[in-house]
């Protein structure tokens, strides 16, 4: 076990507490940089989605994980970013300009949502953000002079420094990766600054934060704006990756997927956003695998176990029918959410920390270390 001896505050807030971090993250970065030359184009495309979802996840973590303000409306922020990019692109605005403009505009909208949200808490905030997302979706469908309504908009490829960045090429992947890494580093810096500590204070107790002299309203609005802006940046990349956007892509379903990302990953650390994004995006390849290979595999196993050829064939058909059933993805989402909330509330990153601590403390690990406290007395109604 490694002991870190901290002598001052600067030691405590270091981005890399010890050299092991530099080596392991450096290795990870190297692996990610060579990935395009190793992986198939389908997996590359999934990896791009991982980057985009993880960026949104980081944005959502700032708001939900660190400031404690739940939002089920982040699909709307993504939509605003995506549509800003698509709209400005028509006037030959260069990529860096509309990329920043999309983030800025989404941030302003986020702040505008943040002001009314100041009065709301808990369930009311969730419902209000859902309503906001619905209204944005409807506006996108109706404001035809700008958004082309339900016909949707084509998004051209990125022109960057005179070259064309194809949405399937490695350069686009590097761009998404760069945005993700910059977002994560920026957020880490934000979280160790006074602003970030104010966010966490508000999450833990609004009353205590206020009595310590934190301007709760100001920081909540800031949190909304930053979170929305990051989501807006991700929206630009999202639009380019899909090359076509229409209002029905940005539904409540997508907002829920973003929440699933941070819920699965863990809401207390930025690692959670990345792990959750990997998990969520990889459900699709997993389902394809289930559809294409699983029936053959299972019937093969059944055949070797002594079932006749005909029986094996039946089994193959049954498994294939189950795997290609219409709502399988939804059912899997549902089960995953419930299982994580019930059994792994700290998410994948929490599981990793538990495993790590288990080996560090080896025979002394106790399950109760990570136990959450239940509160039956406090009513949210008279908060």
């Amino acid at each position: 076990m490694r002991f870190l001896f901290k002598t001052d505050y600067e030691d405590d807030i270091r981005l890399f507490p010890h050299s092991g971090y530099i080596y392991s993250y450096g290795l990870l970065l190297a692996v990610l940089l060579v990935a395009p030359y190793v992986l198939s184009s389908y997996l590359m495309s999934q990896l791009v989605f991982v980057c985009i979802y993880a960026t949104v996840g980081v944005g959502l973590l700032i708001l939900t994980g660190f400031t404690g303000q739940a939002s089920l409306g982040h699909a709307a922020f993504l939509a605003i970013g995506a549509y800003t990019a698509a709209y400005l692109q028509q006037f030959n605005v260069p990529f860096p300009v509309y990329f920043l403009a999309a983030g800025l505009l989404t941030g302003v909208v986020g702040a505008l949502v943040g002001f009314p949200a100041l009065r709301l808490q808990g369930i009311y905030l969730v419902i209000a953000t859902i309503s906001f997302a619905f209204i944005v979706e409807e506006i996108l469908a109706r404001w035809e002079s700008v958004t082309h309504g339900n016909e949707g908009m084509r998004v051209k490829t990125i022109q960057l420094f005179g070259t064309t960045v194809s949405r399937d090429g490695p350069t686009f992947y590097y761009l998404c990766l760069a945005v993700l890494v910059l977002t994560i580093v920026g957020t880490l810096n934000l979280l160790r600054s006074p602003t970030g500590r104010a966010f966490v204070a508000i999450r833990d107790s609004e009353t205590a934060a206020r009595s310590m002299g934190i301007n709760v309203a100001l920081y909540k609005v800031k949190s909304f704006a930053i979170s929305a802006a990051i989501t807006g940046f991700a929206g630009v990349l999202f639009a380019h990756k899909l090359s076509f956007i229409s209002p029905e892509m940005f539904t409540l379903q997508l907002s829920i997927e973003f929440i699933i990302v941070i819920l699965i990953g863990g809401t207390f650390s930025l690692h959670g956003a990345v792990l959750g994004a990997i998990f969520l995006v990889m459900i699709d390849p997993f389902l394809t695998y289930l559809k294409d290979d699983m029936p053959g595999v299972i019937s093969g196993v059944a055949a070797t176990l002594g079932a006749g050829t005909e029986r094996a064939g039946h089994i193959q058909d049954a498994v294939a029918a189950f795997a290609s059933a219409n709502g399988l993805k939804g059912a899997i989402y549902g089960i995953i959410i419930v299982v994580f909330v019930l059994f792994e509330p700290l998410g994948l990153y929490g599981r990793w920390l538990k495993i790590k601590l288990f080996f560090q403390l080896f025979p002394l690990y106790k399950r109760a270390t990570f136990k959450r406290q239940k509160i039956y007395v406090k009513s949210e109604r008279n908060r």
Partner: protein
């Protein structure tokens, strides 16, 4: 003027369905402070049960209706036992997510079982109209309104006049104190979920002649029931129904008098306005902030 009354009645009928779903939210919220995002999906499932009993097995309407209500009450208890009870006492957001997951699951599984087609249940109210002068009112809409009034009255009496209802209100105030007073809090919560699922089933069956039952109906209507519950003040039984009716009427009027597109957003605009101007709703209690 005639158009107006016609729209008003169909708005009230639709609003009663919203009100019944909102009633389910409110019951569970009152008792456990859990907001059940799967309420609409419970309604959908209830509709499908009723369809199975009436449409597929050919049972009498009333028998099928009762069967669906009983099945769904048991299902509500099961859902509470499996999904909600283990996380009771944890932050509200966890519970919201768990019920969203439950909703996802129910939607997909019922899509797998019953398919994604639209279903219609034959009811005694399907045909037939009442004519008052030149005003034509369909039986199916009137039946929804009548059933809502009856259900609402029953629930009101149940909560305010019976011991079990009082126990439910007590455990909603403070679970721990209620437990110390000898109230079997777990069983109370279980019963509340059963009642709420039964109310949802009533909404689903009554809705069947008006809108078709399909696996996504719960999501669409469930989300419209939020504005209803908030407008009435989360936690007030009459409020839920009044809120539902108001939202139904607003939606219906917006569809008739305003340009296309307003119909779908009007309930949410009302919702945001209520949250900003009067967050405690029309019937909600104003509570002082405690530290």
């Amino acid at each position: 003027m005639l158009d107006f009354v016609q729209q008003l009645v169909s708005g009230i009928a639709l609003g009663c369905v919203y009100g019944l779903i909102a009633l389910g939210f409110v019951l569970v919220y009152k008792a456990t402070e859990v907001v059940n995002f799967a309420q609409g999906d419970l309604m959908m499932l209830g509709g499908f049960f009723a369809f199975t009993f009436i449409g597929m097995l050919g049972l009498n309407y009333w028998v099928g209706f009762a069967g669906a209500v009983i099945c769904m009450a048991l299902f509500g208890m099961l859902a509470e036992r499996v999904v909600v009870r283990p996380i009771l006492g944890y932050p509200q957001f966890s519970i919201i997510m768990a019920t969203i997951g439950l909703g996802y699951f129910l939607r997909s599984v019922s899509g797998m079982i019953w398919g994604t087609d639209d279903f219609k249940i034959e009811t005694p109210f399907s045909q037939g109209v009442v004519r008052i002068g030149s005003l034509v009112l369909a039986y199916d809409k009137l039946s929804v309104i009548a059933a809502t009034i009856i259900l609402c009255a029953l629930l009101y009496l149940f909560f305010n006049r019976t011991t079990l209802g009082t126990a439910m209100r007590a455990s909603s105030e403070n679970m721990l104190a209620a437990y110390y007073m000898g109230i079997p809090v777990k069983r109370v919560v279980s019963i509340v979920w059963a009642i709420s699922a039964a109310v949802a089933t009533c909404a689903g069956v009554l809705l069947a002649p008006i809108t078709f039952i399909h696996s996504n109906v719960g999501l669409v209507l469930g989300l419209k029931a939020f504005p209803a519950a908030v407008l009435g003040g989360f936690g007030s039984i009459p409020g839920a129904v009044v809120g539902g009716v108001l939202i139904g009427v607003i939606e219906s009027m917006a569809g008739f008098y305003l340009p296309q597109g307003w119909k779908d957003v009007a309930p949410y605009i009302v919702l945001l306005a209520v949250l900003l101007l009067k967050p405690e709703g029309l019937f909600g209690l104003h509570v002082r902030k405690k530290v």
